[in-house]
Symmetry: C2
Subunit: 410 residues, 2 copies
């Protein structure tokens, strides 16, 4: 697992923290046999707050959507939720009308268990497309599920498909003379691309966040983090980032435009950035995290497009995999995004090594190749066309990606 | 090499034909040492008509462009050209102002050799980005070049980078009681994606085509063929499709809207389609050609986007590579394109095998897996949202793609 970037001022990392780090949240995960058995394999999970929560979510823009996405959207229309039920191993996508009934039943199973309204349950299903959910397994799993204050990791594990490890993170921040927490877990790791970069990211906070602020802060944080990662350019049919704010740590409701709101949003953005980096690093078959920084773009839209094009480029990803300091591919990918460049002013770096300034610079190719051997690699370019900037994350493309994805259902 | 689809009525394939099949064209290729030596390796080529020709071209939309593209655009402004000079092994991109001088010198070298105006020369350079052209080698190559009526294959070879074989094709068609020919050669095979799908496609005809018709017919043919292929989603900085019409086979000028124009455009579109299929099949590391047919789309734009998204999807490409009948990825990729779908009306097929009709269909998975073992694989979907259709081509994603691209400059 790669190290998180340094925490912004006033934010403290909770070691080993995840979705149950904030007060009032409990979670669990069980193995029901949807996935093939394996050590530590879990496939049904539940996360709940001990009280109704303000909720916000962002969903995939894929026009082929999971039934879970449809049900969750319906249930979030009132901006409130109290629990999340998920399964891995089967995404319940393209399963016809019976699939919708199954997704609704999943919400009902959590509601029955927790004695809450099924319309306060968010549903997530990830895995193979086009297969019915084995509902008898999910029913049994929901029944024997135990939700615990330290169950965040079990819940994170139950989300995993080809992820090599559970992805969790949590921080504390101070506001209103109190200590609040924000926790998250996420799963990747194929089908990851902008417009929801993650398949699932579940976020909790015990800060009492006003609904409009929660929605806006989540959108901004996701746009700067999860929507800036790419593993393979594909976008899942199930991608969901959802957040619950239960206010269990007390204090007055935090509204937009206040100093408290800024502190909350800093913490949330940091958590989402850490999750984005973890997801990119654990892209299918990946051995490296690639961070792409684009500066000097003519507009923020172009900066984002250029950074994402680089992080998504198979040729860039393959070159990084082979420690090949082929910076021409960096410029190629930027140009492909349609971002305006002024080649005579462009500057480019492989980590600390300047390789282009209006024309190719002489540089030590073996030192550059050595730099690309790091587990975390920075590709940086100034387009010379303005002052907008953006950061994106991706991973190297390895033969293992192909192996993993050539043999998934069979 | 895969078989071409059946020729449309009235069109006859010229066995072994290429850019010098039409009358009045000669070509050649030499080895100058830009690329590493190897059996049959050539790296500088020239193609010329024995008389001034009407010319049209389409270029990459990448905002980082080769100097050769800039020079060719300047030279084609008058709609006339007589020769093409190309090199492989070095793309002369992002080389600063000296690179522009080098590209102009390449045009001049051809002009000097052929005793024509340098503004009648189209230039193409393909290979590594960010390195100066070794002009002394290109000068020597131009000097010792011999252009021959049977030199089309040598010219095609001089274009190759990671292509495993030269790609050539030519046909005859009848119009005005004469026989005309259209010939082409192309090179891929990485960095291939819509908005110029090929790096280079050079096309010749001895039919006397009016300038406006040539431009329109080329654009339409390329949009339906070369712009519908994808190898890896990257778009080259050098992509060029250019066509010369020298009228050497005689007859009156063929103008738009006539029966002769339709015959010419059918031949041109067929030639471009064959080239597109050859390029996709020879994508880097590819073992299969994937043809994607989308029907029932709400608009032609959406049909094209959906077909291209499927052909470009690493998850689809990996599944086909592994003979994995994971049709869910086909629907995922269609949805990712943003094309509207009516899932309850969607139909999908893996070749002849129906797998989805509003809901998953039972099908013989081992028969489907066997079908995917073919060298040419058809993926087909009806979106149930309208009547527009489009066809795209791609290839499977193999571990060899990564190997090829991890170690290119080093």
């Amino acid at each position: 697992v790669i190290k998180p970037p340094p925490a912004p001022a006033g934010i403290e990392i909770i070691p080993g923290g995840g979705v149950t780090a904030p007060e009032g949240f409990a979670a669990g995960g069980v193995y029901t046999g949807i996935k093939s058995p394996g050590e530590d394999t879990l496939d049904v999970g539940m996360l709940a707050s001990d009280r109704p929560s303000v909720a916000a979510a962002m969903f995939t823009r894929n026009t082929v959507r999971a039934w879970a996405v449809q049900v969750s959207q319906e249930h979030l229309r009132d901006g409130r939720a109290q629990a999340i039920i998920i399964n891995s191993g089967c995404s319940n996508v393209a399963t016809g009308a019976p699939g919708l009934r199954d997704a609704r039943e999943m919400a009902r199973l959590a509601a029955t268990k927790l004695l809450i309204d099924e319309r306060d349950v968010i549903v997530g299903s990830t895995g193979v497309i086009g297969r019915r959910l084995p509902m008898e397994k999910i029913r049994a799993g929901a029944e024997c599920m135990t939700l615990r204050r330290d169950g965040g990791t079990a819940f994170a594990r139950a989300n995993m498909t080809t992820d090599t490890h559970p992805k969790e993170f949590a921080v504390r921040f101070r506001a209103q003379r109190r200590t609040y927490s924000v926790g998250a877990c996420a799963k990747g790791s194929g089908m990851i691309h902008p417009d929801m970069a993650t398949m699932f990211c579940w976020i909790t906070t015990d800060a009492p966040v006003e609904r409009r602020l929660l929605r806006g802060a989540l959108r901004r944080a996701v746009d700067a983090s999860l929507n800036m990662i790419s593993v393979d350019g594909d976008t899942s049919t199930s991608d969901t980032a959802a957040m619950l704010s239960n206010g269990a740590a007390g204090g007055a409701t935090i509204a937009a435009g206040t100093r408290e709101a800024a502190a909350f949003e800093r913490a949330l953005t940091y958590v989402c950035t850490v999750m984005a980096r973890m997801l990119a690093r654990d892209g299918e078959g990946a051995q490296k995290l690639i961070e792409v920084r684009v500066e000097g773009a003519a507009s923020e839209r172009e900066a984002r497009a250029a950074a994402r094009a680089v992080s998504a480029s198979p040729l860039v990803k393959s070159a990084v995999h082979g420690h090949d300091p082929n910076w021409g591919r960096l410029l190629m990918a930027i140009g492909r995004s349609g971002a305006r460049v002024r080649l005579e002013r462009v500057r480019a770096w492989l980590g600390p090594i300047a390789v282009y300034r209006g024309a190719p610079l002489p540089f030590d190719e073996s030192a550059a190749s050595d730099y690309l051997r790091n587990e975390e690699v920075l590709l940086r370019a100034d387009l010379g066309a303005g002052s907008a900037r953006a950061t994106a994350w991706g991973c190297d493309l390895t033969p293992e990606y192909v192996h993993i994805n050539s043999d998934y259902t069979t």
